[in-house]
Amino acid sequence: MIGVINYEINNLKSITNFLQEQNLEFLIVNNPKMLNNCDRLILPGVGSFGRGMQSLDRQGLSSEIVAFANSGKPVLGICLGMQLLFETSEEFGQSSGLGLIKGRVVSIATPGFPKVHMGWNNISTTKKSKLIKTENLLLDVYFAHSFHCNPTDRSDVSAISEFGIDITAAVEKDNIFGVQFHPEKSQVFGKKILLEFAGLA
């Protein structure tokens, strides 16, 4: 059973529509107890970092998600959900995240490039990934973000995308996964990534 974290502000529809289409069992997680019924978790995107964490804290989910991850079960953060896996973010002032991956979430602003990375871009892998299969790398994926993750340990990065600087497109550390793009909006390639996640042992 895939748990989809609800942080009250976000678009859950895209991801739940997708899971429904694929006939994957899921439940929308609003409180810590529901985590007991899940063997893997998705933290979906959309929203600002501070609001996202506030909502997790309010529902008593933050520490429980960390415990869930520490038990070795797979966790996938999408877009904002990926950023929340990190220690801190500088979006609208400093905020603390879940700290499952060491590092900071920083602005992507680079001279000569828009400060919002929006649209379809290709990615390249930087290590062998359980989710991202190299045969799909010719296809583009959909990004919509103005901050990106800067892991302390660069070996946590599994894919990058070029946008003036190397954007951290995906991270992977044992059972913890994060994708900055939206697989649920990225058609064929995205679908394969989510199916890989759903099938992880």
């Binding site: 502000i9 976000n10 529809k13 600002s48 828009p114 929006m118 649209g119 871009n121 583009d140 058609q187």
Partner: protein, 252 residues
Amino acid sequence: MIKKRLIPLMLSSGDVLVKGKNFGQHRVVGRMESMLRIWSDQEIDELLLLDISSESESNSFLRKVELASSVVNFPITVGGKIGNLEYARELLKSGADKISICSKATEDLSFVENLASEFGSQAVVIIVDYKWVNGSPEIYSKNASVQILMDMRKYLTELQDFGAGEIVLQNIEQEGSKRGLDERIVPYVEDLIAVPLILSGGAGNFDHLKGALQHESVSGVACGSLFYFGDNSPIRARSYLRSSGIAMRKAR
């Protein structure tokens, strides 16, 4: 490399979709669901769905957004009648990926800031309607009926300072004309645009799309007439653009 986007524009009015000319003369062009299924198969890059119903039918629009999000697997920006955070939140919960505002931003820049701090800049799209008057682009609101006495460059700078994540420049006189997108606006604003810039209004053939997308600072084009009338499909548009050297995404 980031790809250029083709963004069909859908105007939802009551139960049907319409397409206008210069912000009026609306013609019924079909129903949303069947249109979206076709575009889904043709892998458009994104959709801009605007509610222009005359009466306040926000509930039925929420249902439409919900339906749209269940039919398509590409990003959807929705707009129309967004006057408060609660309604914006409902739209996002109903399946929108981004929300767009137009008139409201001209009245209240702090609303742009509130949207950005609540949902993140990447979810906040501002549509700027304008007309060229005596050589300068003048901003309009309320469906092109009210002129806003504010300098375009100053307005665009402020929008970005307040957290706008994407700007759609919509030329009122080109809209529905099929005479081409307003490329004249690009050099006028590009030095101060630090977010993705979309041009809207006037795309009538693939060369118009190409002309607009050749500008480095233009991230995408929104178009209505082009895909509603005639036999032009997003697939054909994309392959034409790609063969003209424009970076378009690879979908399969």
